[in-house]
Amino acid sequence: MASVTLEYFALLRDEAGCQSETLRTEASDLAALYDALAHARGFTLPRARLRVAVNARFASWDQPVSEGDHIVFIPPVSGG
């Protein structure tokens, strides 16, 4: 079990209904965490269209979830 903070942006923020949340998870890696949250929160973006960042750095989906991680799922960007 790890306690992590999720911060949401764009469509994910709208769908989560909050900017951030802290929760305890048993997910083995970031992919499993997203899949669990997508189910629980009703996220509509398939994981294949997202990237993920941990502690303000891009990470890979198979990275384990660690205690205290600040995690951001990155929807397709559209700056400029």
């Binding site: 911060e7 960042a53 960007v77 559209s78 400029g80």
Partner: protein, 142 residues
């Protein structure tokens, strides 16, 4: 020496553009993205930008440094705004100085393309018919 600013205030390019001046610079190319009143045939009233600040700043600086490595330029800088913007507002500015114009044009184009592709900033379009929508990069072209 590249610099990037993410701001919720109207973009003022004065200081950033001034910092690109060098006696050895013969060319300067800049790009500005403005909020336009239409998108894909729909009337647009304005845009809302969100940014994941720490990663956006790091990634934008990485793009600028890549531009300085890849092209024959002197310096490249950028400013991106977030928050709620109205038609005509400047959403992004990029400036590049170089000895010759080739490098300035190529690097400026590279920076805006990479910013749009890689930097965690998101745009929501507010339409005249009342609905609004988050835009995905591959659905839009500035």
């Amino acid at each position: 020496m590249s610099a990037f600013l993410l701001t919720d205030q109207p973009i003022d390019t004065t200081a950033f553009a001034h910092a690109l001046r060098r006696d050895e610079a013969g060319g300067y190319c800049s790009f500005e993205g403005w909020v336009r009143n239409h998108s894909d045939g729909q009337d647009v009233l304005g845009l809302d930008y969100q940014a994941y600040r720490p990663l956006a700043e790091a990634e934008a600086l990485a793009v600028l440094r890549e531009a300085e490595t890849r092209f024959e330029i002197i310096a490249a800088s950028a400013i991106h705004r977030f928050g709620s913007l109205a038609i005509g507002d400047m959403a992004v500015w990029i400036g590049v100085s170089a000895a010759h114009r080739d490098g300035a044009f190529l690097a400026c184009r590279f920076v805006i393309d990479e910013l749009k592709r890689r930097v965690p900033i998101w745009k929501r379009e507010r339409y005249a018919d009342g609905h609004s929508e988050w835009i995905a990069c591959h659905d839009t072209e500035l």
